[in-house]
Symmetry: C2
Subunit: 135 residues, 2 copies
DNA sequence: TTTCACTTTAGAATAATTATAAACTAAGAT
DNA sequence: ATCTTAGTTTATAATTATTCTAAAGTGAAA
């Protein structure tokens, strides 16, 4: 994803392309593959690796703004921290608790042949499959 | 589950059947159906409903001891609080985010016909299906 | 009964996240 | 180009869930 696209992405979401948002968006979206991260890992990158320091509150604000705009999704993982995902399409996960690593599974690589109907007057919003790994 | 069984359950897990543990175990296991709860909901019960007040730290200690002993499982739910489950068998969940309610799905009510093989030298420990509901 | 490892408890500490409010800035209006 | 202001950043405080601490209490073996 190019810088021009990043500016478009922000503006089309009603987010002013501030210096901080553009920097974070470049780090998150200017790459070949999607990935998973936590606010802590993101903050570490901007504290250590990057020259510019971005306030932790801004990282939280920005991640939430991107999530609300649909540019990030959240993955529920056992543990304290919240995991975010730059893959916003419907997909599943392997989880390696040894390394705390999430690995994407394409939605077409899992086929569910039998599923119960939703209770009450409810409908199924989406189905998430989470496969825990061991050695 | 009867009181005598609760005492057995505790003793066979190497847990002394203290007044607090027996009270909590009776509340958790002395019922027909399994259910889901949070430490907060459990604490509310013993603060309001029950005559005896149990320290919050004891509730945490006991829930962890029961989990370690295999009498409780933990369900990962989006949000801040940790959900526990008195159903320790392999099963799946519906989740109603409107009411924050978990509903069990029997393991046989979901059949997965295609699943990717585990990466690297890893194996699949277990598969959890989480079905989000909407209205 | 005596003993002591195990347990409970109040309160402090920690960790992740959110709120606050003052300083700053992108961008439309003049 | 400057003005204006709503949107944004930031340091810091506050909140929330959970864990730790260490002193007082207790189940159960001897
Ligand atoms: Mn989590
Ligand atoms: Mn959670
Ligand atoms: Zn993913
Ligand atoms: Zn359950």
């Amino acid at each position: 994803m190019k810088k021009i696209d990043i500016l478009k992405k922000l503006r089309s979401s009603g987010l002013r392309p501030t210096k901080q948002r553009v920097e974070i968006a470049k780090f998150l979206f200017e790459r070949e593959k999607t990935f998973h991260f936590t606010v802590e890992s993101l903050n570490k990158f901007f504290t250590k690796k990057s020259a510019s320091k971005i306030a932790l509150a801004t990282i939280y604000n920005t991640v939430h703004a991107f999530k609300t705009a649909g540019h990030l999704s959240e993955v529920e993982v056992r543990g304290n921290k919240t995991y975010f995902d730059t893959n916003v399409s419907n997909h599943h996960h392997f989880y390696d608790s040894d390394t705390s690593e999430l690995i994407d599974i394409d939605v077409n690589d899992i086929i569910i042949q039998k599923i119960p109907k939703a209770p009450n007057g409810k409908k199924i919003k989406n189905v998430e499959v989470f496969i825990n790994l061991k050695n």
